[in-house]
């Protein structure tokens, strides 16, 4: 990516991300209307001066709901990436460093975990602990673990065959130290890219879980549930399906642009 492009995409990413995170933060103290405020008499209003994004089938203000729903998306996605990084990277490093039996054990263990598709896992978790945002975080976070583990391990194994790693081994450095000093720094950029992807996927996954009713529970607004409720109204009130969908797309786009630019800055200084 050329410098002007990178700067441009960085700027766009920062603006979009800031707008969304700012709106989500603002919603903690102020929204145009109460996002849970039901007003049956003014339901399904098209966008207007009073309600910029219109109102939903219960008369709630869509803009307020999208602002408040952003809180949910940011929190769930961020925490689930933290879970994935925290557990997945050490696993992948260990698998690559030890090789042989340890590698097999960790990676097949990862396979077992990975064989639970995110949604199935989320349904199992919510069936045991009840639906809600915390359980969505756990479900998406657990799903992130094998992703980071595999990416780490796949690239770390290549790095282990590099001369500088061999040299470090010959010099008597331990596997742990080599992993920390030589492997991990070289993986940082890849992990940043993957982290960005998983964060944006986290936003989408959270929306998916809420869409099937397993994410944050009403009256906590969430973009996925708004889409679910809007689906039967696409012909009469299409704005209800467009606004939350576009909110997801824009936010994810912003985060990704930011991540891309950051990746470029790290990788191609």
């Amino acid at each position: 990516m050329s410098l002007p492009t990178r700067n441009l995409s960085f700027a766009i990413g920062v603006v979009i991300t800031a707008v969304f995170i700012g709106a989500a933060a603002l919603s903690l103290v102020w929204t145009p209307y109460d996002p849970a405020g039901i007003d049956i008499l003014s339901k399904l209003r098209p966008p207007s001066a009073q309600h910029w994004f219109g109102t939903d089938q219960l008369g709630r203000d869509v803009l307020s709901m999208i602002m408040a729903g952003g809180r949910n998306s940011v929190g769930v996605a961020l925490l689930s990436v933290v879970i994935g990084l925290g557990a997945g990277v050490p696993l992948g490093l260990a698998a690559a460093a030890r090789g042989g039996g340890v590698d097999e054990f960790l990676m097949r263990g990862n396979d077992v975990l990975f064989a639970f598709p995110a949604l199935l896992l989320a349904i199992l978790i919510t069936a045991v602990f009840g639906p809600g945002a915390i359980n969505a975080i756990i479900a998406i976070g657990i799903f992130n673990i094998p992703v980071f583990a595999r990416v780490t391990r796949g690239s770390a194994r290549v790095l282990w065959t590099r001369d500088y790693c061999l040299a470090a081994q010959v010099a008597g450095k331990g596997r742990l130290r080599i992993s920390a000093e030589h492997i991990l720094p070289n993986l940082a950029a890849l992990l940043a890219v993957q982290g960005t992807i998983q964060f944006s996927l986290g936003i989408i996954a959270e929306a998916g879980l809420s869409y099937v009713g397993l994410g944050a529970q009403p009256p906590t607004p969430s973009w996925g549930r708004m889409l679910n409720e809007a689906q039967t109204l696409t012909a009469s009130a299409p704005s209800l399906a467009w606004f939350p969908g576009l909110a997801i797309v824009l936010f994810v786009l912003g985060v990704n642009l930011l991540g891309d630019a950051a990746h470029g800055a790290v990788h191609e200084p």
């Binding site: 990516m1 492009t5 849970a36 405020g37 039901i38 049956i40 219960l58 008369g59 042989g100 097999e104 097949r108 263990g109 396979d111 077992v112 064989a115 639970f116 598709p117 949604l119 199935l120 349904i123 069936a127 045991v128 094998p146 992703v147 595999r150 990416v151 796949g154 690239s155 194994r157 290549v158 065959t161 890849l190 992807i197 944006s200 989408i204 998916g208 869409y211 099937v212 009713g213 009403p218 009256p219 889409l227 679910n228 689906q231 039967t232 109204l233 696409t234 012909a235 009469s236 399906a241 969908g245 997801i248 797309v249 824009l250 936010f251 994810v252 990704n256 891309d260 990746h263 990788h267």
Partner: protein
């Protein structure tokens, strides 16, 4: 190995992942029946929300069984008229003795069951005796408690003698649970129902549809339709899309009142709006403070504004009620004015009770009427100073927590059974109302057979329930049915909420493709899978040595063993009882216990685990609790959809991603790269279900290019099946393609910084040549890793997409199985997925070794 060979091998290995899935899909499809021909318009497809768990109305109370089968497949001695009074069915007339202790029924002559068995007083006696037997699992058996004996004095006369008078007996006999069955076929009715009705059972594709065919030998006027298919569509938006796209001809109990207005405005459709027997209640736990205080319950009643609940939750459909009784019944008393909406009065009553501003939890079951009413009720109660926290439950959780364990403050649910006011006389019923006066009223009603006296007592019952404000009485659930304007004579609703098809016919003759039942060939698929797997292993053994393969196989077995144990443990912790869920709301504890025993659920967990493992070793996954057919067959049926869909999406995603990634890396920083980066950024950002929604809306609902969903089955022809999978595959593939293209571009650019690439460049090699010969082989490693991940994600992760497009695939099977507590299905599918993922990961490892010789030694070390 020279770089071009590496590239070729890499690309070959890359397609290996897809090829394996594709081959199995092919096997499933090849083994299917030849394409069905187009039929004349004498076949109807009707959408229904719920799939019956089994097909025997005498052993399960599931409303879906009655909705589809009663009056079509099964018939009773009597049936309900629209106002709830009994009218003749298989009994053409009857007499009641003056003392009310003897009922004589005169049966119709020349009635035969679908298998040819004649219907007479002996079969009728068998049916009733079977329902009343001590080991009977009949969900309504207590309704026949008053019967002393069932007698068959001659071939066409049936006499019931009673222990005591039973005023509601005739109505009870009209319930689906007391349908007439034949001794020879009764035991198999759960999967192969045999009745006396105008339609015969033809096929049941679980998770998808049930098909009936015309009974030419019907005792009455034979049906005009040749075939009736009931398609199960739970999702309101999928129901909407299916109707709009013309995939189905009608929808019974249409679940989305918000879009009724659109159908009413559309000339292609006729909408029926009526009432059901479903009283929708804000159920209060009368056992638990503060709801044991009548002032608190009355305060809640005053706080409710039924009009705005109906307006908001039901879009104005539904009639407000003031007690537990349907307004269309002649004995109805309008008590909606008893607690006119008055938040001030509610606050006063709460103050009087010393319960101002108390907090309570409102536990809601899944249907949208409950969820939406819940939000409005919570807001209305808040206006009276009651702090309500909403908790949404799955059906199984709701049955377990609210219905069985009575662990709730408030809940909202529609009580769909007719004449069910007697639940208020049951001490163990979930809302815990205990009142001696009310029980006396019910006893008096049971004793009364005179119509005037019964009506008077029913009035008193309604007033008593309203006075005590046992529950918040919200509205009578509306019957909303949408129907093709060319389809006439179809009967919706009625007291039992059945779909009557005996007089239905189309007035146009345009051909419509029929949905014949699929015959999956599991054996063919298994053989092909074995051949593919064997070939792969042989190849690996030749290339990397037998030790490498043996080691991998051992790891595979160990993984599967670990996974099965983990899965079993996780699944066993999930609360909820499958037997309770299968029996449903009004089932009796005794019947549930019997079913638990029949299913072997009362055995120790570790015994069940060993049993299941023993079965797995013989490729026998066990029997589905819900569907009562082998789990293997169930999974095979679903794989026919999921595997092709996965392969299709994977192929689309790879086909889009490879050229895009290469192009972007080659034209790095130039407009083409920017364009690709922009497009993939957008692809990454779009949630697949939203893309699915938009695609369905644009291409199916608006443009009518493809159907909005459903899967016609491979027997409907390659093209039809392919078309049906296209939108879901595109929706699934696009975000995946974006990920793949990004990873490919990123890793190509990484390798371009390597020394050997610089060397090549220094030697004067061109951009494309460097990319192709030097960078791509190395860049394929992370791509392969991602591709391996995507396979399992796509295979079962498409649950949402399968729901948006109502495809009967694996993801939906698991989702339904968890909701229905069909644990054995969940276990089996998950273990199967583990197997698939481990195998794919094996293939990915092999391909790594193929592409990068350096990894080969460490891979086999």
């Amino acid at each position: 190995m020279t770089p071009p060979a590496a590239v070729l091998k890499g690309v070959a290995a890359l397609s290996g992942v897809t090829a394996l899935a594709g081959a199995v899909a092919l096997a499933g499809a090849v083994a299917l029946l030849p394409a069905a021909t187009a039929q004349a318009r004498d076949a109807v497809i009707i959408g229904v929300q719920l799939e019956p768990p089994i097909l025997d109305p005498t052993s399960s109370p599931a409303a879906a069984i009655t909705e589809i089968e009663y009056g079509n497949v099964f018939e009773g001695l009597v049936q309900f008229a629209a106002d709830g009074s009994p009218r003749p069915a298989l009994a053409k007339s009857w007499e009641i003795a003056a003392d009310g202790l003897s009922y004589t029924f005169h049966l119709r002559a020349n009635v035969r069951f679908h298998d040819g068995t004649p219907f007479d007083s002996a079969t009728a006696k068998f049916s009733l005796d079977r329902a009343m037997a001590p080991d009977s699992v009949n969900p309504q058996k207590s309704r026949l408690d008053a019967i002393r004996a069932v007698l068959a004095p001659d071939r066409l006369t049936l006499r019931l003698t009673l222990k005591r008078r039973s005023g509601g007996l005739l109505q009870s006999l009209a319930w689906g649970a007391f349908a007439m069955v034949a001794p020879r076929s009764a035991a198999a009715n759960a999967v192969d129902p045999v009745g006396t009705g105008p339609f015969k059972f033809l096929a049941w594709r679980r998770g998808d549809s049930l098909t009936l065919t015309r009974n030419a030998d019907y005792w009455g006027v034979p049906a005009r339709l040749q075939r009736a298919t009931f398609q199960f569509i739970a999702d309101p938006s999928a129901a909407y899309a299916a109707l709009m796209a013309g995939d189905i001809d009608a929808f019974s109990n249409y679940p989305a009142p918000e879009s009724i207005a659109q159908f009413q405005a559309d000339k292609r459709f006729v909408v029926f709006v009526g009432s059901t027997e479903g009283e929708t209640l804000l159920a209060l736990n009368n056992r638990r403070p503060p709801f044991d205080d009548i002032r608190v319950r009355r305060a809640i009643s005053y706080a409710l504004d039924r009009r705005s609940i109906i307006e908001g939750a039901m879009y104005g459909f539904g009639v407000p009620i003031g007690s537990h009784f349907p307004p269309q019944n002649p004995a109805y008393v309008d008590l909606t004015g008893r607690y006119a909406h008055d938040p001030k009065k509610a606050r006063e009553l709460l103050r009087e009770a010393g319960r101002e501003g108390f907090a309570a939890v409102l536990k809601l079951p899944p249907p949208s009427y409950a969820r939406r009413s819940g939000e409005i009720v919570a807001a209305q109660l808040a206006a009276a100073g009651i702090r309500v926290r909403i908790e949404n439950l799955e059906w199984a959780q709701w049955l377990d927590e609210v219905f069985t364990r009575h662990d709730f403050d408030m809940s909202i649910v529609s009580h769909a059974e007719p004449m069910d006011y007697d639940i208020y006389a049951r001490d163990d019923y979930y809302f815990g109302y205990r009142d001696a006066d009310f029980k006396a009223l019910i006893a008096a009603l049971d004793d009364a057979i005179d119509d005037g006296r019964r009506r008077e007592l029913l009035g008193l019952i309604q007033r008593k329930l309203a006075d005590d404000a046992v529950n918040g009485f919200l509205f009578q659930y509306p019957a909303l049915d949408v129907c093709d304007a060319h389809l006439h004579g179809i009967g919706f609703g009625g007291v039992l909420n059945v779909i009557e098809l005996d007089k239905a016919a189309f007035d146009d003759a345009s051909p419509t493709p029929g949905a014949a039942a699929a015959r999956p060939s599991i054996a063919a698929a298994a053989v092909l899978l074995a051949v593919c797997g064997g070939a792969l292993l042989l190849f690996a053994a030749r290339r990397f040595g037998p030790w490498f393969v043996a080691q991998r196989l051992a790891v595979l077995a160990a993984t599967l063993a670990a996974a099965s144990a983990i899965v079993f443990v996780i699944v066993q912790i999930v609360p909820g009882d499958p037997a309770r869920f299968m029996m449903g709301l009004s089932a009796e504890p005794g019947a549930v216990a019997t079913l638990r025993h029949q299913l072997g659920l009362d055995a120790a967990p570790w015994l069940r685990y060993l049993d299941w493992l023993r079965g797995l070793a013989h490729a026998d996954f066990g029997m589905s609790y819900t569907y009562r057919i082998p789990v293997g067959a169930l999974i095979a049926q679903r794989l026919q959809v999921s595997l092709p869909l996965t392969a299709y999406a994977l192929a689309l995603s790879t086909l889009c991603a490879l050229p895009l990634g290469l192009l972007a890396a080659a034209r790095r920083g130039r407009p083409a790269d920017l364009l690709v980066t922009g497009v993939t950024q957008l692809g990454l950002a779009v949630p697949n279900f939203w893309l699915g929604m938009i695609l369905a809306w644009v291409f199916a609902v608006t443009l009518h290019w493809v159907s909005a969903g459903g899967f016609p089955g491979w027997q409907a022809g390659w093209w039809a099946a392919f078309k049906a999978l296209t939108l879901p595959a595109v929706a699934l593939a696009m975000p995946q393609a974006a990920i793949l293209a990004r990873v490919l571009r990123g890793s190509l650019l990484d390798t371009l910084n390597e020394d050997y690439v610089r060397t090549a460049r220094a030697k004067g090699a061109g951009d494309w040549r460097i990319l192709w010969r030097h960078a791509l082989p190395n860049a394929l490693i992370p791509v392969m890793t991602i591709l391996g991940m995507q396979f399992s994600f796509l295979l079962a992760g498409g649950v949402i997409i399968e729901n948006v497009f109502f495809l009967p695939g694996l993801g939906r099977l698991v989702f339904q199985a968890i909701v229905q507590r069909d644990l054995i299905v969940v276990q089996s599918v998950v273990v199967m997925l583990v197997f698939a993922v481990v195998s794919v990961s094996f293939v990915v490892d092999l391909s790594h070794a193929l592409i990068d010789p350096r990894l080969r030694t460490s891979g086999s070390a």
